[in-house]
């Protein structure tokens, strides 16, 4: 019953008419400013289309959960050109930076007991890191309440579709990892830390740091067999428990194989094992400095009621998802 509802929710987001306040032309990029601030973020259009999801058995470094490879259709959306930065995330988490009140019923992330950037950088364009999936999705809900435009995390399939940007090869730029350093911060060039977003080359659709830098939360529950069962249109593995969730892109500590477009990574409760408090923070992971996120905006926006139901189903039922 619940699952049916969730299927409907995502479907609605893609098929219902636009009800947000903004009617940006779907094929144009735009820059939005967080209300009451000078902090902005850029969204780039991702056209509707289909792609081969997963990797061929011949791909070097492939794991079993990446198949069977199958063609799926994906609806149109905008995706943030960059990983969400601390400049953006802190407008949500820091009341002093948010000039407008927190929307009814929402709370801000509590400050972590220890600094979770580990000194890698915060203000001035560094990616927000260490948050739980709950913290990432809560940012989307806050942004929706602030702007009237519905944003969410990408599904695993949407993420991979956008990352490939039409390329069927191992990496968006080809099958050879030797060019990776032009596009991604990973073990080979990161110096063991994340970097400011957007310093390297984007993919063909104008997305920066899809591979490497911080790994990115998706909307999906991680299921090792999901590609065996997924529908061929807008697949989304709905949440059934608070963990594990699906991660894409690899991170600054990873080797090239984990940065392949098809690589699927799963979150791990160990990522918060050193949080000494009980209840453990629902907002942060004490041992996952390598995790971040980016947002998407479906072209076909949900109604207010549908969006409310969506957040109730993905967030309120799985508080502290990670």
């Amino acid at each position: 019953m619940k699952n049916k509802l969730l299927v409907l929710s995502l479907g609605c987001m893609i098929t219902q008419s636009v009800s947000g306040q903004d009617n940006s032309p779907p094929n144009q990029p735009y820059t939005a400013t967080l209300p009451g601030t000078t902090v902005s973020f850029r969204m780039v259009p991702i056209p509707a289309g289909s792609f081969n999801w997963g990797s061929p058995v011949s791909e070097k470094g492939r794991k079993d959960d990446e198949g069977p490879r199958q063609q799926v259709q994906i609806g149109a959306f905008w995706m943030s050109a960059h990983e969400v930065t601390f400049d953006e995330y802190d407008v949500y988490s820091d009341a002093e930076k948010d000039k407008t009140p927190i929307p009814d019923g929402m709370t801000r992330p509590s400050p972590p007991y220890i600094d979770l950037t580990l000194g890698m950088g915060k203000q001035g364009g560094f990616p927000a890191n260490s948050m739980s999936q709950y913290g990432a999705l809560s940012y989307c809900r806050w942004l929706y309440a602030k702007t009237g435009i519905f944003y969410r995390l990408p599904t695993e399939a949407e993420w991979e579709y956008a990352c490939r940007a039409g390329a069927a090869t191992t990496y968006p730029f080809g099958k050879d990892s030797s060019s990776l350093k032009q596009y991604a911060w990973y073990a080979g060039n990161s110096g063991g830390k994340y970097h400011k977003v957007g310093e390297l080359q984007p993919n063909a659709w104008g997305l920066y740091d899809m591979l490497g830098n911080v790994a990115e939360w998706t909307l999906d529950q991680y299921d090792v067999h999901y590609l065996e069962q997924a529908p061929d249109k807008d697949p989304w593995k709905q949440p059934t428990s608070r963990t594990p969730r699906s991660i894409k892109g690899g991170n600054y500590q990873d080797d090239a194989a984990q940065l392949r477009s098809a690589a699927r990574l799963k979150s791990d409760p160990d990522w918060n094992r050193r949080d000494p408090q009980i209840p453990k923070s629902k907002w942060w992971n004490a041992d996952a400095p390598f995790i971040g996120f980016r947002i998407i905006r479906p072209v076909k926006q949900p109604t207010k009621e549908e969006a409310g139901q969506f957040f109730a189903d993905v967030l309120d039922k799985y508080i502290g998802s990670r």
Binding site: S110, D115, G119, I278
Partner: protein
Amino acid sequence: MQKKEFHSGRRDFVKQSSLLAGGLLTLPLISQANFFSGANDVIKIAMIGCGGRGTGAAVQALSTKQNVQLVAMADAFADRLNESYENIKGEVGDKPGRLNVKEEHKFVGFDAYLKAIPLADVVILATPPGFRPIHFEEAVKQGKHIFMEKPVATDPAGIRRVLAAAEIAKAKKLNVVVGLQRRYQNSYRELYKRAQDGIIGDITSMNVWWNQGALWVKPRKPEYTEMEYQMRNWYYFNWLCGDHIVEQHIHNIDVGNWFMNDYPVTAVGMGGRQVRTGKEYGEIYDHHAVEYRFANGVAMNSQCRHWKDSASRVDEEITGTKGRIICDRAVIQDHKGKVLYRFDKKQENQPYQSEHDELFDAVAHGVYKYQDAERAAKTTLTAIIGRLATYSGQIIPFDQALKLDLNLQPAAYAFDAKPQLLPDADGNYPVAKPGATRYV
């Protein structure tokens, strides 16, 4: 380090301990009847202080391999105790029998610890640190094994009580583990071992940091007495917290003391309230920078601050004649940058859990192994002299501070009693001012 072991099982161990204690001490052993009296060798636990850390520690204790049960809980606030109980239930619900706290064994109020401690074999002391001396004293008096959180006091009077009780704990052979968890963390233990083996030569200087953003604040409610307000916002009042140089930065200062195998002889420094100036932040500073000096002249430079949107670092670096240890990265380099040793982070443990695994293993097997209280008290005093140095602007000698007549505790512990520090008519608290504030 004393490491005498009794292999004859726990009950004999207990008997020997109490015989020893009886011969050495004049303090009455109030709760001998309750000592390991559980059926089937159950180790009974009481938790004193039911906040997030106390709850975490209780869950870790209940997650050890030993036959343990939580039987009593104590907190100043009923709401905190009840939240904690529910959270523990959520965490250990799948381990039958581990949570066994009867309604009548949930104790609320300032004196709750007196009622909870007699019911246990092992006590967890995790209230704000201002209460630690009286709680530790009582637990030792009653012959309990102890896990207590850092810091172990907030003023010199409290340090003296902890040091005195630590002596009695040693005489009674009570295991005492203190939550300075880097001492129980694999990477730090490996780095320490190599430092002892001389990999960096003689230590010439140390740098320690706890630089980060801000913490929580709880709004004042009209129904709060001043005592309740300060208790709810304990972080911002020194009688409870000791300032963040004591409450948090103690971890890094402890690493310096550990690697030096010593304690500093003096502290001098500076600090203030530059960013966090509002009355909701009580009396504590938002930054401290302290130069500690050891007897052999080595300096430990310490920085701690609660400034948001500033460069952050929580770490320690130990520099020697032949190289440098960078603790958080768990790397040792020579002075040209060549890596001499790198800890394999896959071998890292969960130190908060290891503290309890090791303590309860010792208790279950009747082994006397852990006597952390004295060194934790001296490391707490190290952090306290840093605060006294930044508050006063003076050079603070360690030995003199230990004898200092400074007791921040209220005359009575009750919600209608007055703390020593009170706000003015506008709600602002007096703040230490270097040059005007004096301790020595």
